[in-house]
């Protein structure tokens, strides 16, 4: 199957047929939606991780404060 596709890509006649087919005149394949999905994942995952870092940091800082107060009262 792969060799078939490659043959199609190499063969100029086949290429011409592909590009003359309706909807494909622009050349590159129409993959805009996939690109958007990809970047949503990239920035989404990094953003979520940053949020998780910040929340964990906030909670721990609060815990630390409370604990330090208890510590002072205790002695």
């Amino acid at each position: 199957m792969i060799s078939g596709i490659i043959f199609t890509l190499i063969n100029p006649l086949a290429m011409a047929a592909i590009f003359m087919a309706p909807g494909l005149q622009e050349g590159p394949a129409e993959t805009f939606n996939y690109m958007v999905a990809g970047f949503v994942v990239i920035f989404g995952a990094m953003g979520l991780y940053l949020v998780s870092l910040a929340t964990r940091n906030k909670n721990l800082s609060q815990d630390l404060e409370t604990l330090q107060k208890i510590d002072e009262r205790a002695g």
């Binding site: 792969i2 060799s3 596709i5 490659i6 890509l9 050349g27 590159p28 394949a29 129409e30 993959t31 805009f32 996939y34 690109m35 999905a37 990809g38 970047f39 994942v41 990239i42 995952a45 990094m46 991780y49 870092l53 964990r56 940091n57 721990l60 800082s61 815990d63 630390l64 604990l67 330090q68 208890i70 510590d71 205790a74």
Partner: protein, 232 residues
Amino acid sequence: MEAKPKLLSILDGVSVVMLLIATGMVFFYAPVEAVMGLVQKVFYFHVAAGWVGMLSFLTAAIVGIILLRTGDRKWDIVGLASVELGLVFSFINVVTGSIWARPIWNTWWTWDPRLTTATIMILIYAAYLMLRSGIEDPDRRARFGAIYAILGFLSVPLTFFSARLFRGIHPVVIGSNQPGAEGQFDMTPLMLQTFFFSLITFTVIFVDLLWHRVRLGRLQDRVEQLKLKLNV
């Protein structure tokens, strides 16, 4: 809580600026690939995330060796931090790869060597987290985590090699000469510049995030110790 070091603030700024520049380069500097079209733009950050994932797991293994040698638990904080980051970036790597594969290979998933290895790597380090969560004694947790990080990292190249002996269809873009890999393309100079700039950017982001995560780990350690001291 310790004051935020100045260098870290600078690094934060540098990371953000570099990420903005890299994103700009991907969209406006690098040309649209002639066959695959716009989805190819995912490739720059896809490879960069994969690279950072490997770098994190390598860091975890090296830190594991240092921990076993010195017995100093501060290295455990670094180890856990890098595994966590490695999981985030490997996840980005695998999912973006899958999104790219759908229009190009016409399938969300194939048992290609790199894809398989990356996925098994995620499973290994998920197991790492499970192992840690089952151990209460901090010293033992540190030692076991270090051992597992070392074992896991050793098995990764072997997994890749064994999966590669099965035939793969993943394009080898750098130093390529593999006929038959579908989705193969030659990078123009502009693409290459974008590619290397993305790699450097993600490496800087990795260092920055690792630093933040280590600071968080230290904070966690302090809270735990205070809890033990106060018996709550």
